[in-house]
C-alpha cells in the first residue's frame, strides 16, 4: 500500500516535471557552451533586469548591449552600440553616433531607443539603480535615427563609465508598460529582446538561462549555436560541475585556481578585483580616536605574509585606497610589519586605558573559507600586540541591516569591520565610503569617517575635469588616507575564472560587478 502511494506520487511528480520542462525536439545537436557565468561576486543569479543590475553585467551584456563598453583589460572605453562619440569643449555635451543593428525581433534599433532607455534609467520610479549616477543628464536629443546628443548640467567625469553599464532597451517592446510596473514585469525573464550576439530562449527557474545565436548580428553570426548559463549555490558546486565536465567555465576561489592551474584541461584566468579590502574603524565608538592606535594596526598585521601564504602571492598590499601606480605617490608610509613598533604605538596612545584586552567584535559579510582564514590570521597577529578582536561573520542582509540601521545604529555591534569597496577602474569609487558628505543615509560611509582633510581631497579630485590634473588630485587622496588611516587598508586581491581548454577565443575577466567588458561572445567557440 505504501509502495503503491509512493509509485503514484512518483509518476505524478515525473509528469509535473515533464510538462514544465518539455522542449521541442531538435533535429541536430546544436553546438553549446555552458558556463557558470553568474557565479562569484561579479554575478547576480536570478536578475534579468539591466536597470536593477548591481552586478551580473558580464552575462547581461551577452544579449543586451550598452552604448560604450570597457575593453577586456578595463583600461579604456570602446564603442558598442555607439560606433563613436565626442565630448564638447565645455564637457557638457556628448554626441553618440549609433551603429546599424536590429533588435532580436527584427525591428530596427534607433536613437529613439537610446533616448527611451536613458530616460528610464534616470527615473528612480522605474527601479533603476543608475538614477542618481545619471543625475547630471538634463536632456537627450535625437537629431536623426543614428545620432544621440546627451546634454549635462555640469561636467561629470564618471558619466561615461556609468553609461557603459546601462544596457539599451527596446522602446517598441517596453513603451506600453508603465515605468512603475517595469521592475515587476515578467517580460525580463520570459520574452526579453536585446541587440547582442545572442538572443534569449528561456529561463528555467533557478536552474539555467539559455540563449541562442542571433543570426543577423552585425559583427557576424556567432560561432556557437547556444550559450547556457547554469546557476550554482556556491563556487564549490560550480567547480564540481566543471571538473565533472558539465560546464566549460566558472569563477573560482583562489584555492581552486591554484589546483586547476596544474591541470592541462583548464586555463586559469587571473585579473585584479578592483576591490580594496580594509579593516574599518568605527569612528563613533571612541576606541580609534588616536591615530597611533590605527597605525598600530598597520604595523601589527603582516600583510606580506598573508598575501604570500593565503593569497598565494596574488594580491597587492594597499597603503591607501589604491594600488594602481598612477594613483599612489611613491613617498607614502609603507607600514612595514613591525609588532614592536605596534606595541610601542599602543603604549604611547594608552591602549591599556582605552580598551586593554577586552574583546572587540570584528564584523564581516565575507563568508568564504579564504576570508575566514585571513581573519583568523589577522586575529592572531593583533592578539600578539594586545588587541583582542573577535571575528563575527554574518550574511549580507544582516550586515547591511546593522551598519545602515536607521536612526542611531548600535555602534558596538560593529566597532570594527572587514569589508571591501570598489576602487577602480574609476578611482572615484571609494568616495562613497569615506567622504563626510556620504554619511548614511546619504551614502555608504558606514564607518562614519568625518575627516575634513580627506573630504576636501575627494571633493577636489571629483571636481577636476582635466585627466592629468585629476591623477595628481587622486594621489592627494591617497596621501591623506595613508597618513590619517580612516581605514587600515589591507590589499587588493586578484580573482579567478577557470575555462576549459576546449574553449577558443573565450574572453573573461573578473571585472567588478561583472563589468561589462567587450567579451565578444560571437567569437567564442568550442573545439571538440
Amino acid at each position: 500500500m505504501t509502495l503503491k502511494t509512493t509509485t503514484r506520487s512518483l509518476a505524478l511528480a515525473a509528469l509535473l516535471g515533464a510538462t514544465a520542462l518539455t522542449l521541442p525536439a531538435l533535429a541536430q545537436d546544436p553546438s553549446t557552451i555552458t558556463g557558470g557565468f553568474d557565479v562569484g561576486p561579479g554575478g547576480f543569479q536570478g536578475n534579468f533586469n539591466p536597470l536593477a543590475a548591481t552586478s551580473g553585467l558580464t552575462w547581461l551584456s551577452v544579449y543586451y548591449e550598452p552604448l560604450v563598453i570597457y575593453n577586456a583589460e578595463l583600461t579604456q572605453l570602446e564603442g558598442a552600440l555607439a560606433s563613436e562619440w565626442s565630448m564638447s569643449e565645455d564637457q557638457r555635451e556628448i554626441t553618440f553616433t549609433l551603429v546599424e543593428e536590429t533588435w532580436h525581433d527584427g525591428e530596427a534599433f534607433t536613437s529613439a531607443d537610446v533616448k527611451f532607455t536613458l530616460e528610464l534609467a534616470k527615473n528612480a520610479a522605474a527601479g533603476s539603480v543608475f538614477a542618481a549616477r545619471l543625475g547630471a543628464i538634463t536632456s537627450v536629443d535625437t537629431p536623426d535615427d543614428r545620432t544621440v546628443v546627451v546634454k549635462l548640467s555640469n561636467p561629470d567625469t564618471g558619466l561615461l563609465s556609468t553609461l557603459a553599464q546601462v544596457m539599451i532597451l527596446p522602446q517598441h517592446a517596453l513603451k506600453d508598460i508603465a515605468p512603475e510596473e517595469l521592475a515587476t514585469s515578467t517580460w525580463w525573464a520570459t520574452t526579453p529582446i536585446g541587440t547582442g550576439p545572442y538572443k534569449f530562449t528561456q529561463y528555467v527557474t533557478d536552474q539555467y538561462v539559455e540563449l541562442a545565436a542571433d543570426e543577423d548580428y552585425r559583427n557576424g553570426r556567432p560561432l556557437t549555436d547556444r550559450l547556457i548559463n547554469r546557476y550554482f549555490d556556491n563556487s564549490a558546486a560550480a567547480v564540481a560541475a566543471l571538473r565533472a565536465g558539465e560546464i566549460d567555465f566558472t569563477y573560482v576561489e583562489p584555492d581552486d585556481a591554484a589546483t586547476l592551474a596544474d591541470n592541462a584541461d583548464y586555463r586559469v584566468i587571473e585579473g585584479a578585483s578592483f576591490v580594496v579590502n580594509y579593516v574599518g574603524f568605527n569612528h563613533m565608538v571612541g576606541l580609534w580616536d588616536d591615530v597611533r592606535v590605527r597605525k598600530a594596526f598597520m604595523h601589527a598585521i603582516d600583510r606580506q605574509a598573508i598575501i604570500e601564504s593565503l593569497y598565494g602571492g596574488a594580491a597587492e598590499a594597499a597603503n591607501c585606497g589604491y594600488v594602481a601606480d598612477q594613483l599612489v605617490p611613491a613617498d607614502i608610509d609603507q607600514y612595514e610589519y613591525d609588532p614592536d613598533k605596534a606595541r610601542a604605538l599602543l603604549a604611547e596612545a594608552g591602549w591599556s586605558e582605552i580598551n586593554g584586552d577586552k574583546p572587540i567584535t570584528w564584523l564581516t559579510y565575507y563568508n568564504t573559507p579564504l576570508a575566514a582564514n585571513v581573519m583568523a590570521a589577522v586575529q592572531a597577529m593583533l592578539s600578539q600586540v594586545g588587541i583582542n578582536v573577535v571575528p563575527r561573520v554574518v550574511d549580507t542582509p544582516t550586515y547591511n541591516g546593522i551598519v545602515y540601521k536607521e536612526g542611531t545604529p548600535d555602534w558596538n555591534e560593529f566597532p570594527l569591520v572587514y569589508a571591501g569597496l570598489q576602487n577602480g577602474p574609476n578611482p572615484a569609487g571609494i568616495n562613497v565610503g569615506l567622504n563626510e558628505s556620504q554619511l548614511p543615509p546619504n551614502g555608504a560611509n558606514i564607518m562614519r569617517v568625518q575627516n575634513r582633510m580627506l573630504s576636501a581631497a575627494f571633493d577636489a579630485a571629483l571636481g577636476e575635469t582635466d585627466p592629468v590634473a585629476a591623477e595628481a588630485r587622486w594621489q592627494d587622496v591617497c596621501r591623506v588616507m595613508n597618513a590619517e588611516l580612516p581605514w587600515a587598508t589591507m590589499w587588493v586581491a586578484n580573482r579567478y575564472g577557470v575555462a576549459s581548454n576546449d574553449l577558443v577565443d573565450f574572453v573573461w575577466t573578473p571585472a567588478p560587478a561583472g563589468g561589462p567588458f567587450a567579451s565578444h561572445p560571437e567569437k567564442w567557440s568550442k573545439s571538440e
Binding site: T5, E210, A237, A240, A244, G401
Partner: protein, 305 residues
C-alpha cells in the same frame, strides 16, 4: 493549524535582523539612497507589518500568496508549486529505495539473528543513522560525479537538452540513494526489532508447529504483522526526510522546496519563506493523514476517525 503556523512563522520572521532590501546591496558597490528608496518602493516594503500580514492572509485564502521579493515579479504560489514536484520525486525515490533496502535487510537480519550478516547490517545501520546527510552527500558527489563521472553533479535535467526520462533518472539516482541512507538504516532497525517480536508470538509458533515451511511462516504471517510499526515509523519520519532533503538539495542543486527555502532565508524573501513553510507544513499534515489511512488499510482493527 496551518493558519497558526503562518502566524508563528510571521512573528518569527519579524524578529529577524535585516531588511529584505539589504540582500540587494553589495557592500563593495553600494547604492545611492535614491536608488535604495526606489527599490524599497518597488518591493512594497514600507507597509506596517500587521498590514503586510493581513494583506498576505486575505490574499492567501484565495490562493494568492503574493510576489517574491528576490525574484522580482514572480508570484509565490506557482514558484512553490513547481518545487513540490521535484521534492516529492526526490523524497519518493529516496523513500522507495530506503523501504526496499531497509525492509529486505531488516528481514534478513531478523531471520539470521546474531549471524555475521545480522551484525554487519546492524553496524552499518548504526553508522548510517550516525552520519550527517551533508557529509555523505559531499562524498557521494565527489566520488560518483567528479571522480568517476557516473552521474551528473547537480540539477534535475541537463540544461537545454529537453526532457527525457533517462536524463531525469540519471540526475535522480545519486541524490535519491544518498537521501535513502539514513532512512534505510532506521527502517532496517525497526523492521528487525518488529519481526523478532512477531516471530516470538504464539501464532507464529503455532504455524511453525503445524509444519508450515519457514519461508511461508516469515512471508505470510510474520512480515505482514511486523510491517505495522514500520509504516507508522515511515509516516512519522516524513518531516525528518524533508530536513534531510534540504541538505541533499543544497549539495546537488536539486530544484526543490529545500533549495527554495534555503535561498529565501538567505535573502530574507519573506513571502517565499511564508509560502514555502505553509506548503511544507500542509504537505506534512496530509502525508501524516495518508499514513494513518494506510495503517488502517493494513490493520483492520484501526478505524480512521
Amino acid at each position: 493549524m496551518v493558519l497558526a503556523l503562518s502566524v508563528l512563522v510571521f512573528i518569527l520572521l519579524r524578529l529577524a535582523p535585516g531588511d529584505p532590501i539589504d540582500a540587494y546591496v553589495n557592500p563593495a558597490s553600494p547604492l545611492s539612497p535614491d536608488a535604495m528608496q526606489a527599490l524599497r518602493d518597488r518591493l512594497g516594503l514600507d507597509a506596517p507589518l500587521p498590514v503586510q500580514y493581513f494583506g498576505w492572509l486575505r490574499a492567501a485564502v484565495t490562493g494568492d500568496l503574493g510576489f517574491s521579493i528576490q525574484r522580482v515579479g514572480v508570484p509565490v504560489l506557482p514558484l512553490v508549486l513547481e518545487r513540490i514536484g521535484p521534492t516529492l520525486l526526490l523524497m519518493a525515490a529516496g523513500l522507495a529505495i530506503a523501504i526496499v533496502v531497509g525492509i529486505t535487510a531488516g528481514i534478513i537480519s531478523a531471520v539470521r539473528r546474531n549471524s555475521p550478516t545480522d551484525i554487519g547490517f546492524s553496524v552499518l545501520a548504526f553508522v548510517g543513522i550516525s552520519s550527517p546527510a551533508f557529509l555523505t552527500a559531499l562524498l557521494g558527489l565527489y566520488f560518483f560525479s567528479v571522480q568517476l563521472r557516473w552521474a551528473p553533479s547537480g540539477g534535475m535535467l541537463t540544461p537545454g537538452a529537453g526532457f527525457s526520462l533517462g536524463d531525469l533518472l540519471a540526475h535522480l539516482v545519486l541524490p535519491a540513494c544518498l537521501l535513502s541512507i539514513g532512512h534505510a538504516a532506521l527502517i532496517m532497525r525497526y523492521m528487525r526489532a518488529s519481526l523478532l517480536e512477531v516471530l516470538n508470538q504464539d501464532y507464529v509458533r503455532t504455524a511453525r508447529a503445524k509444519g508450515v515451511r519457514e519461508f511461508f511462516v516469515i512471508v505470510k504471517h510474520a512480515v505482514r504483522n511486523a510491517l505495522l510499526p514500520v509504516i507508522t515509523l515511515i509516516g512519522s519520519t516524513i518531516g525528518i526526510a524533508v530536513g534531510g532533503a534540504i541538505f541533499i538539495e543544497s549539495v546537488f542543486n536539486w530544484p526543490g522546496m529545500g533549495l527554495l527555502l534555503v535561498n529565501a532565508v538567505e535573502t530574507r524573501d519573506y513571502p517565499v519563506i511564508m509560502g514555502a513553510t505553509l506548503v511544507i507544513g500542509a504537505t506534512v499534515i496530509v502525508v501524516n493523514l495518508l499514513t494513518d489511512i494506510t495503517y488502517a488499510a493494513v490493520d483492520p482493527r484501526i478505524q480512521v476517525a
